[in-house]
Amino acid sequence: MKAPLSWLREYVDVSETPAVLAEQLPMLGLGVESVEQAGDEVVFDLEIASNRPDLLSLIGIAREMAAWRRRDVRLPEDRLEEHDPAASTLTAVQIADAGLCPRYVAHVITGVTVGPSPAWLASRLEAAGVRPINNIVDATNYVMLEWGQPQHAFDLDTLAERRIVVRPAAAGERLVTLDGLERDLDPQILVIADARRPVAVAGIMGGGETEISATTRRVLLEAASFAPAGVRRTSRRLGLRTEASARFERGVDPEGTARAARRCAQLIAELAGGRVLRGGVDAYPRPASRPTIVLRLPRLRRVLGMTVPAADAEAILTRLGIDLRRDGDIIRATPPIGRRDLEREEDLIEEVVRHYGYERIPEALPVETMHQGRRAAKLETEASARDALIRAGLTEACTISLVSVRLLERLGLEDGDPWRNPVPLHNPLTSDHTHLRPCLLPGLLEAARINVSHRREAVHLFEIGRVFARGQTAGIDERRALALALRGPWLTRDRDVTFLHLRGALETLFAELRIGPLEIQPAQRAWLHPYRGGEIVFGGDVVGAAGELHPDVAARFDLPGRTYVAEMTLGGLLERAVTQPRFSGFPRFPAVRRDVAVVAPEALPQSHVESVIREIAGILLESVELFDVYAGPPLAQGRRNLAYTLIFRAPDRTLAGEEVDGVIRRIHEALPERLPVTIRL
């Protein structure tokens, strides 16, 4: 809202400098977007909150300044002279639905001479950002800026039967609006019509055929109130925002309509000559009531934590145009016309404190039972998972949760893969962000691509974030996921990461969450190298997959060489995590160590060998560790040697060597029986 300072001074004394005003108006909630100086004129461009349509008027702004400085507001005098015959003999107004148009006031002014406005008026409009057109139209715009009530002037003699019908448009009706565009109308759009056809889109813009022209002699002046939601919808649909629609969208108080209409009729008569016919026509089927709001001063104190003297509260509310009566601690207030935002006690509390000064409220700290805040358990374990990966040397990434099908397709997913069925946005804004991410991987690979494009060799990233899937029945599944992407050198400068580094990072995570050993079973995923990846199994469920990125996928992300990736859901892990471990004591008896070595086919996962060892060794086995893997001469092609160190220990006695040897013998017997392996002794 552009407010020229000279114009504001019509209604309130303003002695402050523009600089002081620019600093102080925001402390009233009037944001100052800019202050422009043009000659003698200073124009403030103010940012108006959506609940304050009254501040889209100079009188509304003047009231705020008056309350701020405890000054008086001067309202324009009503000097309207009315002449016979009554307007109702010449025109009529019919409202089809008072819900959409609570009030419609029409004045008829006859014998006008259309011409340019006087300079003082034209320059004021220009300063306020409105282009002068002719004296009639300019008068409507002037009063709109003054009172916040949009008005429209029709050439009465272009209206069929010279009457007004406010109704929804009929299907197929059209209207050429003042901007020259032909608009298709439908029953969702409220129009102003004459006896035959629409002549204006209600609350937004008039039509070309009935506008004021050089030959106009008789004017029908419209001042109305339209339902905000309807105007907002129509304005959106037509892509048409006007000064009028901006005001109606926020709500124009029907109580103020007649007053502004009289002011405008008077101004037209003054500017263009002519006579205002008696009475006008006022269609106001259900007059709005003005509420009485009770403000309890103790409540004011309870909400603010500060005492505002009753006299100050009264003075502030009165300057804002509120009628009030105080009875001890109780103030009964009737808000002024135009302040439909004032509905209940809290609204008045805000008015008082806004003008009393937010800066006068002291800083206090709430007196409550003392207690230390904490994170919800799941957030705490998420934080420990994050810390574990960071301590393992990975850097956390943060990638956008909106993706495109194009990006997902780079993963080369198969038909039926749930990631191929992401949740679409109903109203996406750009083609890059059309769906909710079903997985973290593409975002992480994009991040890797960006780093590689900067010639960064070592990229070790992870992300913990939400992923989304269509729910089983309805709704949307929102889950916590983890993804990793590793490439380039890591622990040493001259060696690139391998699958084992990826696995090691996941093992660190499992160990830190104390959720048992990591289990990965060979399996295939479209995005993984078919022989260098597997499924992550947790608690019997497949929770994700890990491995080397498929070379085709890597190529689609411009990632040369090998990249190791994993993606898994995290919820189950976090639920089972042990965040408060207990000390388990040191062993009291010595351990016995034995090695077991087998020659196995290379295609046989070592985990199979390990699980046979664990099963046979039983409870005496404290740990088993694969310490050597060897393939090459003298072993046959396709075979490898796997060597394990087994630690045995009993909790209650010193183990005898013979007892352990017996266990080893049984392992040596069982392994070749169950697996295609030979024992190396």
Partner: protein, 327 residues
């Protein structure tokens, strides 16, 4: 004879000085003190000496032996120090070679900021909770006093997934869920991603982070709100930080304010706050006559840009390790 003792002492002293290894030292010892050494030869002359001289000469020989032994021990000690030093010298390394470093992982700068904010509020007794990013109109709008057709309910700026499902536009939606689940008093903070239909540019992303908090109790006031947020600001931005509360409008709070703090000589806008609107409390099953509540919603991304001097909001989302490695 006594000349021979003097010569022995002179020769042995010179030989010891020349000895460079333990072997040299042993040779000197053998020559002087060995069974066939010089001193032994002189000892052998004792019996043939006249009785009057024997005692004196014997004593002199004993003194010579003691002197040689002491000189040898001294020299041996010198030598061993020298040898050890030489061995250490042979192990010389170049301490200016670059170090071998293990990988150091890092938190994302936005996570780091969120953690910092959460930690401060935990210190003020707030409990950190989370809520869904996919929300219903009911929780995102209606329960925050934005019924259908409310002007502030800007559906143009909201991503919809279905008629009633949307991506939350502010994390205040979580407050409405918590209020239904619990009974006062409450002191809650939540953080996470929010969504807005914004075109990507240097200061806008369709996804951004927010920290939202509220406190419900008997006798919670606007003064408490100011105190809590001013304390937060001083913890976050330093003890000299000043706060500014400017009147504003949010449908779910009244009175409402915009919060700004001083940072490096300018005002940095952090977000909005106010006293929860009685209607919001009523919808949350809380009696607004008995309880009052304040609430606040703080931006994370843009304040972090200013605080860390990051010129473009997109840099947060690119995950360029040249940037992440600096924090």
């Amino acid at each position: 004879m006594s000349d021979e003792v003097d010569r022995l002492m002179e020769e042995t002293t010179a030989a010891l000085r020349a000895a460079a290894t333990p072997e040299d030292l042993e040779a000197v010892r053998r020559a002087a003190l060995g069974r066939r050494g010089t001193l032994a030869g002189l000892m052998a002359t004792l019996p043939r000496m006249p009785e009057t001289q024997r005692a004196a000469f014997g004593a002199r020989l004993n003194r010579a032996r003691a002197a040689i032994e002491e000189a040898m021990a001294t020299r041996a000690a010198e030598l061993s120090t020298y040898v050890a030093a030489a061995r250490l010298e042979a192990e010389r390394i170049d301490v200016t070679l670059p170090g071998l470093r293990g990988p150091v992982g890092r938190r994302h700068i936005l996570r780091r900021t969120l953690d910092e904010v959460e930690r401060i509020f935990m210190g003020l007794g707030f409990e950190v909770v989370e809520g869904p990013e996919v929300e219903t109109e009911e929780f995102n709008f209606e329960r925050l006093n934005m019924p259908i057709d409310h002007p502030a309910r800007d559906t143009q700026d909201t991503f919809y997934l279905a008629d009633d499902l949307l991506l939350r536009t502010q994390s205040t939606a979580v407050d409405t869920r918590v209020m239904l689940e619990r009974t006062p008093p409450m002191r809650i903070v939540t953080s996470g991603r929010c969504y807005r239909r914004d075109t990507v540019d240097a200061t806008h992303m369709p996804v951004f982070h927010q920290v939202d908090g509220f406190m419900v109790g008997e006798g919670i006031t606007f003064a408490d709100l100011k105190g809590v947020l001013a304390t937060f600001a001083r913890e976050m931005f330093g003890p000299q930080t000043r706060t500014r509360f400017q009147p504003s409008y949010f449908p779910f709070t009244e009175p409402s304010a915009e919060l700004a703090v001083t940072f490096e000589g300018r005002w940095l806008e952090l977000g909005g706050c106010g006293m929860f609107h009685p209607r919001v409390l009523e919808m949350g099953g809380i009696d607004p006559e008995r309880y009052t509540a304040f609430a606040f919603g703080l931006g994370v991304d843009r304040p972090a840009m200013v605080r860390y001097g990051i010129p473009d909001i997109r840099l947060f989302w690119e995950n360029d390790l040249r940037l992440l490695g600096q924090f």
